[in-house]
Every structure is written in structure tokens, then in C-alpha cells.
Assembly symmetry: C2
Homo-oligomer: 327 residues x 2
Amino acid sequence: MANIREIAKLAGVSVSTVSRVLNNHPYVNEKKRAEILKIIEEQNYVQNSNAVHLSTGKTMVIGVTLPLVNNQYYSSIIEGIAAEAVQHHYKLMVCQTNNNPEQERSVLHLLKNKKIDGLIMCSRSSSCETLNEYAGYGPIITCEANDTTSVSSVHIDHYQTFLIGMEYLMKKGHRRIGYCIGRKNSFNSQHRKRAYYEKLRSIDVTPSAEWSFEECLTIQDGKDVVGKLLQTEERPTAMIVSCNHIAAGIIKEASRLGISVPEDLAVVGCDDQPIGELLEITTVSSSSTLMGKYAFEMLHKRIWTQQLVGKKEEKELSPVLVERLTT
Amino acid sequence: MANIREIAKLAGVSVSTVSRVLNNHPYVNEKKRAEILKIIEEQNYVQNSNAVHLSTGKTMVIGVTLPLVNNQYYSSIIEGIAAEAVQHHYKLMVCQTNNNPEQERSVLHLLKNKKIDGLIMCSRSSSCETLNEYAGYGPIITCEANDTTSVSSVHIDHYQTFLIGMEYLMKKGHRRIGYCIGRKNSFNSQHRKRAYYEKLRSIDVTPSAEWSFEECLTIQDGKDVVGKLLQTEERPTAMIVSCNHIAAGIIKEASRLGISVPEDLAVVGCDDQPIGELLEITTVSSSSTLMGKYAFEMLHKRIWTQQLVGKKEEKELSPVLVERLTT
């Protein structure tokens, strides 16, 4: 079996050109690419991960940070990343950070130390200063909008998502609307809350503090919301919820406690998780899997195009309302 | 800020002893461990992943293979692995293999090339020969039973799981029982089918080929099962299903087509996924998260105890019946 040097010799090109073809580098002359692929096939060449490493200086590993591993939203981003990564012979180093900036920094260190070729941060706790600092070492993409000068992002428009959900509920006649989000101070949460308060203000409703539920991450957290709703002085007639798993917990517990959905409590979720369809939850949907796919594409381009490192690019996904039975 | 060498000097121990403490190596004298931790705290020492690497020869990365990333069963195994890994300062390299033995081999190569300290295979397509070959290079744990001589496993007793489900359905009076599983020829599937056929034989029922559904991996696959059930000559009155996501698809589509669950079709799922509770699916439950936790513990012990490499150990998790509304 031929090695990469023999393939290069037979094709009359450099080892790094063969390597670029093997790694689906976007910028190789198409005719040359076809010639090289033909020789690779004739020689029955099987790529050895170490050979790639030596000839390109790449690790063929990208890092992915996420706060917790077993969460449908993050799993579906990773699904999108992984499907693309396999195509391009990349492996993923998945790092659970528990939203701890120190843990995030240890992953950013991997980029600095060239243990990974690039990094996708599904969510982040690090400051913009820290991100800018590390962006000089290699490409970083965040899956939420960020205020840095040099870190690119692919993100869902969470402001628009909550806006659509609020307008829809208001059109249905709701005025006492509560919200339910994950991390209190994340970039995404700030955008969601801005839409929430703007919309309520537009109909002269002053939201009660009792209508806001933050740090909701699990189905159980959703269930707990219902218990708390029962103790409010003026119970909301509708809830807008950042994630369909939390919405599922709310609906389930409401049913157990005899609160009718949507008659007593309307619920709008905000993602495209399968649980939304299974439980017929009205949702403002964006594809987190697609976001992961785009994030990998953007990262891959930057890994192989040195000039793009540190040049900010932003891609925003727009949400769509899917009306079902919970409103 | 002190480095690892200064910590070692202050504690009067070797660098590798400090490193063992930092990495929660199980076999360090407790008194010495306490002394070293005190100095680490006093010196405000922050671990640098590269320093660990240099002083111990470890990468502090473990590999995890799984066929596809966005699948609740595998996500929940990884949740268990990741929670333990974070405690022990390990990072995960998660590799999606699409059940392709070549892709698995490229991950096994990472073990051979010391790019990872150990490997957990959530499912596997490689032969026992291949696994035995690579087990010499470092610890491997499979999350399904295996017939190798040297690869350890932590696994759910899938034979027992299907046995419990079948006995329960038979006690309810069902005789025409179908099954629904994932990969046709996986080790787990073989055990499930053995229990299925044994139990039907015990009541002199010859199962129809139309009652068996294999390669079911998504909710949509579950929905498709119902369409096919409608075309059978003798429709089963009950289904035993290897995973609650597939069961959810079946229940959902049955409801859409006017087939009453459980009256026209009883459904038993076989895992502990939240969707089971949300849709009130009767299930034979085992904790895949716990399996992941045990797999990491077993692997970690083997990474740090050279004598255990290649010595087979097996840990089996027993399932429990949880009766809900679909039977």
C-alpha cells in the first residue's frame, strides 16, 4: 500500500497538496484534485491519522465546549457538527465545562498548545477579552452571538424568537405572560429578556417578578415551575419557554395538578426538539442541528485559510412559528 | 504561582506523586495526599494540562466511540462518563463511528499512538480479534457485553430486560408479540432476540416474520413500524421495543391512525429515558447514565494501574419493570 509521499510523487505534486485533497481543503484546483483522487484510488491508499498530522501540522481534532453533555439542545448542535466532521475526517474533543470559565480556559489552552485545530463553543462563560486573546491562536466559533472583535459566530436569533412568541401570545389575548429561561446572564438570555420586556411594555403590562423563572435546565425544573406558579398572586395565563424540554416538564406537571393546557395555561416552546412534536407543543422553531453544521463549515474554512483567522464573521438563523396544541 | 516542580519540592515528594494527587490517582497514601493538597491550596496552584502531560506521560484525554451523537441512549451514557471525567480532570474525545469498523479502527489507533489514555466504546462494530489486539496498548471498556479475552465491559443485561418485558406481556394475556430493535446483529440485539424467541417458544407461539422490526434508530422509524403493522396478516397485540424513543414514535403514530394504546396495541419500552416518563410508557428500565459512570471508573482505575491492562472485568446492570399507561 502506498504512503502519502508515494502518492505525491506519482501525482507530481507536493505532500501538502495530497494532504489538502485528503482533508477536503476547499482551495485545490479541481483538475488536480481529480487526478490525485484517481491515483489514491488506484493505489488503494488508506489514510493514517498520524501521517496527516505529520504532513500538515494539523491534529485533525476540533474542540467543542458545552455546559452539559446530556441536553437535547446541545446534543443536536453536536449532531450537526459531528456529521460534517466525519465527512472531513475530523474528530471531536467534546469538553463539558459546567459553565465554569476556568474549565473553558483549559479548553482554550488546547488551542494555544495546538492540541486542536479549532474550537466551537456551543455556549460560553468566558469574557470577550479572553476570547479575543485566544482567537489569535486559532479559529474559534461560538454558537451564540458575541461582542468580541475577532471571534465568529453562528447563532439563532433569540431576540426574534421571543418576539415572535410574545406577539403570537398577545394576539391570542394573553397579557399576563411569564417566561422561563436557562442561564440567567447568558448572552442568549439577555436577548430573550429584552424581547419579553419590550413586548409587555408595548401593551402597558408591568411584569411581576413572580412570572420569571431562570436557571431552568431540566424537565424537573419545568415541573417545579408549575408548583411555583400555583403560589403566585396573579398567575400568568401563558408561558414562553426557551426550550421544549422545560416546556414538556411544565405541561406534564400542569396535567398532573389539573391545570388545563392551553385553557388555564398556554405554553410556547422555543426550539425544534422532537419532544415538541411528540407532545404537540407550539414552538418558535430553529434548527440547532443546522447551526452545528454551519459552525463546522465556518470553522473548517478558517482552519485551512490562514488569512481568515481572527476575522469576524456572523451567521444568524431565523426562527419560524409552529402552531400546535398547547396554545 | 508555583509550578508542579515547586509543589513537589515544598512537599518533599516526587513530581509524579504530586501529579497522581492532581489526577485523583486512587493509590496515594492518604496522609501524604492531604499534605500535598494543602500545599497546592496555599500556593494557589492552577493545573496546566500540558504540565500534567509532561510529568505523567498521560494525555488526560479518553476516547469515547458511539455510532451517532444525537441519540438519547448514547447521550445519557456520555453524561455519566463526562460527569466522572470532569471530576478527574479528564477530557473526552468523542468519535462518531456510524457503526463503521474502519472508523472504529482509527479511534483504536489513537490508543496505540498514545493520543488518548484509554477508550470507552459505547457500542462497537469491530471484531473481538481487533479489540484483543488493541487492548495491549491501553485500557478499553465496552458498554455492551463482549466475547473478548481481555476487554472489560460495563453493560446492561439486555437478555434479562427482554425476558422481563416478555413475561410481563404474556402475564397480561398477550401471545402475538412483536419486537423492535436497533442494529440487527449487534451483541445487544442477539441477546434481546434470544429472550424473545425463548419466551414465545415457551407458550408454543411461532412468531411471524412480520412481527419483527430491526434497524429502528429514530422516532420516525418507530412511526414507520405502525404503517407496516397495519399491513400484517395477523397483527401483534403488543410490541416490545428496545428504546423509548422508538416506542414514542409507535405510540404517536398509533394515536394518529386511531389505534388505541394499550387496548389495540400494548407497548413496552426498554430504557430509562425521560421521554418514557413524559409519555407514560411502561418500560423495563436500566440507567445508561450509571453505566457511563461505572465505565469511566473502571477505565480510570486501569489507566493508573498498569497491572490491570488486558485483565478482563465485567459489571452487569440489572433492569427493573416500571409499569405505566401503555400496557
